[in-house]
Amino acid sequence: MIDVFSYVPAIVLLPFFSFLIALGVGKYLPKGGAFGGIAATAGSFLLSLWVLATVAGGEAANRTLYTWASAGGIGPTDVELSFGILVDPLSALMLVIVTLVSLLVHVFSLGYMNDEGETGLPRYYAGLGLFSASMLGFVVADNLLMAFMFFELVGLCSYLLIGFHFREPGPPSAAKKAFLVTRFGDYFFLIGVVAVIATFGTAQFAGTESFPALAEAALAGEGSVAWTPGGLELQTWLTVVGLLVLGGVVGKSAQFPLHTWLPDAMEGPTPVSALIHAATMVAAGVYLVARMYGFYALTPTTLAVIAFIGGFTALFAATMGVVKDELKQVLAYSTISQYGYMMLALGAGGYVAAVFHLTTHAFFKALLFLGAGAVIIAMHHNEDMWDMGGLKSKMPVTYYTFLAGSLALAGIFPFAGFWSKDEILYEALVHGLNDPLLLGGYLMGLLAVPVTAFYTFRMVFLTFHGEPRTETARDPESVRWNVKGPLTVLGVLAVVTGFINMVPVQKVLGLEGIDLLHLWLDNEWGGIEGLSSHHYGDIGPYSSGYLVGGEVGTVLVGAAVSLGLALTGLLVAWRLYNVPSPTEHTAKLGGIKDVLYNNYYLDELQVWLAYRTEDVAGGANTFDQGIIDGVVNGVSSVSLFGGSRVRRLQSGVVSQYATLLTLGLVALLLALGVTGGWFL
């Protein structure tokens, strides 16, 4: 029996090699090295499936593979910094998702990039490869430091890919913004990592010596941590650490207030957007929280904050999505909003729900983006929905798959999104009944449901329904297999993924064993001690409360409400936009319209902050040149001036010399005479 886990590094390295190949010899390869990437990701995908199967077979792995920095003292304790792999149900699942999406994106890129005659393809595929590699490395990371490192690399790749069209002014600045904003979040994350290492002497995720385990023990009074900053309550300190790490999550997962980079990131090629939003960069944040959920579950405050941020972001982003005109912009805001849901779930103790939504969202959001890509190809890279319309008949495959994705996004039964979103709201509700802050999160999440449905179908109708509004829309460019293939795969997944976790059905009909994901994440088929959803539930702060009719009743009510709201939103969109020639209705919003168009002026705010910082820098520079350097140069000029005075003594008249000489001698005589007391 060969040990599959020893091949896990290969999952990471295969895309990395494709990166090297594409970068090195890509321009000599057909399709600019695309096939290398496809082969690599396909290989990783197959390996991931194998790993998944193995984990399902009850095995798991938590291994240290490589010592990065040998052991040394950091004051309170000694630490050793290492790399390793942690393969448990969660990471196995994530591996499959990432590799699959990345594979499909590679394939799709053949249509989107190569067929469109883009230049710099080797750079593109190299970027994709490195991107996948970094994300996979992040997924299998067995400790927080390694996770942070690959987290950062993911950021780099997003920078490279968003700024792919570097010859235009837009993409580079968008790339810069993406990196900077996430860097700002990562600043706190880095402090968090250092704090964790300093506090526990380890950054391991799993095992009895892992920092969640140590924290748990310490809080239970069964152990102690290596260090806490002067006189700080352990609980408080752990909360602080949790929030610090959360900074990185907020940045990467584009949560309020660090979400501003994501819409701009649409400057990147559409397949990249699909990759970023569905499976890699943005997902990384949420995945991180899930990965170290055993730690977060210990700090209720952090959980509440997460939940509230999540709920708020869900609603907040959804509202902005309502007024956007570009296809990808709408999707961008929908992404932010959806990740808000996941955060809500995590904050609400719905660990499984979050992972569930992460999974479904990965598929239907990838689907939507690729679909949007197909439309963009068809529309000759015009993204304005008001120039589209009536594409339904011209590109059926795209339409139906896109529709499936939209239904999932809107959370319409029985599509994938419904199940996951519904479970999130359910968790938030039952736990929120005993926790007002959480309940607030739930309500915001609930409010976001109709809005989501509305903008989703506004998008669908404007794009595919009604009369074509432009020439290109009348005669769109056709797309080939390499576009349709991925769409179909993802379309199917968007429909069926939900069935892996039909909790409501299970609860109502009492069918045991159909909530597969729950069982999966609960180590039903094996996993790693301390990383099961039950364990999280046990250490978590929440207790469940129910509405009328106990659990089942609550399930039904919750599901009904959310579905109802979704349908309402859908219908409004139908009424307004599913007409031959739809018109702008944003005017109805009045003043709010501008606010929404301008994203609540948050970008302006951040730009303003940036400029103020530059002003401060300018001030510092003036100070430096004027005062500090002025002093330095001042000293020299003063000395020279002194010299020019001194030399004047030398008047050139010899009898004055005689005089000065005599005076000097007399002065010396007096000095010594007085000190020596001769004249007494």
Binding site: T67, W68, A69, S70, G72, G73, I74, G75, P76, V79, L81, L145, F148, M149, F150, E152, L153, L156, G163, F166, R167, E168, P169, P171, P172, S173, K176, F179, L180, R183, F184, Y187, L190, I191, V194, A195, I197, A198, T199, A226, W227, P229, A610, T613, E614, V616, A617, G618, A620, N621, D624, I628, D629, V632, N633, S636
Partner: protein, 509 residues
């Protein structure tokens, strides 16, 4: 072995000085490879353990009495330990690359230029290997001479001003340091009979300091510490003694900037570690808070200044000030990871800043301007060079798996919970914010110069950079990544030598 290394480099400098200009560059490169091979040999056979100053086993040690003055012997005493060897390797590694990077820009009086470069290398090697104060001081001061010429003759428009400023400012600092060290030595009285650093360190550690002309030992130690600290602070440089650095960098030709930022700055931090923090650890920890504050200020203030610059070289120069702040932070916390990380950061920053200056130089060779406003879209014309530039910039921003991150992270981990530095977490967190600002200015600079549509103020037709311009960049990049992926190749020996330094300090309370 070491004396052979240094001696050969001196001879090579002389030969190159006499060589005809046409092939002085090639000859210098050929010669400079030998010291590199030599340092590799030193590394391969390295058997040192512990810290050279605190009685550890010194590798390749030679001690020959030179002369006796004031009842104390001055000797030719060289050797390496885990702290100095990486810096020796760094020096011998950077010099050949710098020489190659000079082939394009240096078009006059080549033989003198390359001769002086090698002469400087020899002295730098001496600085990092000397274990006798006067021997060390000879090399330390001798570095100024070639630097003065290199900036003054081949520099930019304000080269004379920059050269004399560098020359006088750093020399003043050395004199201050000299007085401080001497009063320390003589306060030791008869408990030290030579100027050998290990002996002096040992004598101080054994409480050899006596009352000296009515001044109590503690006062002497503190005064000496301050004098030496100020002296080295100029060389490092630490805010507010940094103003010579931007001028020197901007005026110096690219290869000289490479060595200036890559190695010369490390002389200051190396000396701080050797003298202030190894010989007088208790004084250091007594001043932990002010020094920590200076470190943080250097980081943030330097980064802010870099943010305000328009000249690419100035940007990198100020960011060096910022990076040196990290090193100081790592030293003052007195933990293995802190001190080790600081030393590692010296090497890492040497490579990265070298790469950045070279990259800027390559662009300058093609465009004859370094002003951010004067160009854009360079990536369109010189893709490879720009690609490496970008990679290097990310290295500077502390991208994981590149050397810079390793150094900075070690320092942060080492300092965050350090007992020696009160409020360590706050200091560390503040210093960490540098990684955001550095990303800010480097990304902005890259966006406006490298990306966007190609434009250029000066009328030069820009093509891909010649091979011998790009090759050093590539080599450096590889080195940076290797060090970032496997920092232990240096960090282990560094840590081994840092342990005694850490144990040397007594933390009150």
């Amino acid at each position: 072995m070491i004396e052979a290394l240094i001696g050969f480099t001196f001879v090579a400098a002389l030969l190159v000085l006499l060589a005809p200009d046409e092939w002085a560059g090639r000859l210098a490169f050929a010669f400079s490879l030998l010291p590199f091979v030599g340092s590799m040999y030193l590394w391969s056979g390295f058997d040192g353990a512990g810290n050279a100053l605190t009685g550890g086993d010194i590798a390749y040690a030679t001690q020959i009495e030179w002369l006796e003055v004031g009842g104390r012997t001055v000797s030719w005493f060289v050797g390496v330990d885990g702290i100095s060897l990486p810096l020796v390797v760094l020096t011998t590694f950077l010099v050949p690359l710098a020489i190659v990077s000079a082939w394009t820009p240096i078009d006059a009086r080549q033989s003198q230029f390359y001769g002086l470069m090698l002469f400087m290398e020899a002295n730098l090697l001496g600085v990092f290997t000397a274990l006798d104060f006067f021997l060390w001081f000879v090399f330390w001061e001798a570095v100024l001479v070639p630097m003065y010429f290199l900036i003054g003759i081949w520099g930019g428009p304000r080269r004379k001003y920059a050269a004399i400023k560098f020359f006088v400012y750093t020399n003043a600092a050395s004199l201050l340091m000299f007085i401080g060290f001497m009063s320390l030595t003589f306060a030791l009285g008869d408990s030290a009979s030579s100027f050998a650093l290990p002996e002096i360190t040992g004598a101080i550690a054994d409480g050899g300091l006596g009352t000296w002309f009515g001044i109590s030992p503690d006062r002497i130690a503190m005064v000496a510490f301050l004098a030496m600290f100020l002296g080295f602070a100029v060389k490092v440089p630490i805010v507010p003694f940094h103003t010579w650095l931007p001028d020197a960098h901007v005026e110096a030709p690219t290869p000289v900037s490479v060595l200036l930022a890559g190695v010369l700055l490390k002389m200051g931090t190396y000396a701080l570690l050797r003298f202030n923090f190894t010989m007088l650890p208790d004084q250091a920890s007594a001043l932990a808070i002010p020094i920590g504050a200076i470190a943080v200020i250097s980081v943030i203030y330097g980064a802010m200044l870099a943010l305000a610059q328009k000249d690419l070289k100035r940007i990198v120069a100020y960011s060096s000030v910022s990076s040196m702040g990290y090193v100081i932070l790592g030293l003052i916390v007195f933990t293995e990871y802190g001190v080790g990380g600081a030393t590692f950061q010296m090497v890492a920053h040497g490579l990265i800043s070298g790469l950045m200056f070279m990259a800027v130089g390559v662009i300058y060779n093609a465009t004859h301007t370094r002003m951010v406003g004067d160009m854009s879209g360079m990536a369109d014309r010189m893709p490879v060079a720009v690609g490496i530039f970008v990679a290097g910039a990310f290295g500077y921003m502390g991208l994981p798996l590149m050397a810079g991150f390793a150094g900075e992270f070690f320092i942060f981990v080492g300092s965050f919970s350090a007992p020696a530095l009160p409020y360590a977490p706050i200091f560390t967190a503040l210093a960490m914010f540098g990684i955001v600002i550095v990303a800010g200015y480097l990304l902005s600079a890259m966006q406006s110069t490298l990306f966007g549509p190609f434009e250029l103020e000066t009328d030069y037709d820009v093509g891909p950079a010649p091979f011998h311009d790009v090759a050093p960049l590539a080599v450096l990049l590889v080195a940076i990544i290797v060090l970032g992926v496997a920092p232990d190749i240096f960090f282990e020996m560094i840590r081994d030598a840092a342990v005694p330094v850490v144990e040397g300090v007594t933390i009150d309370g």
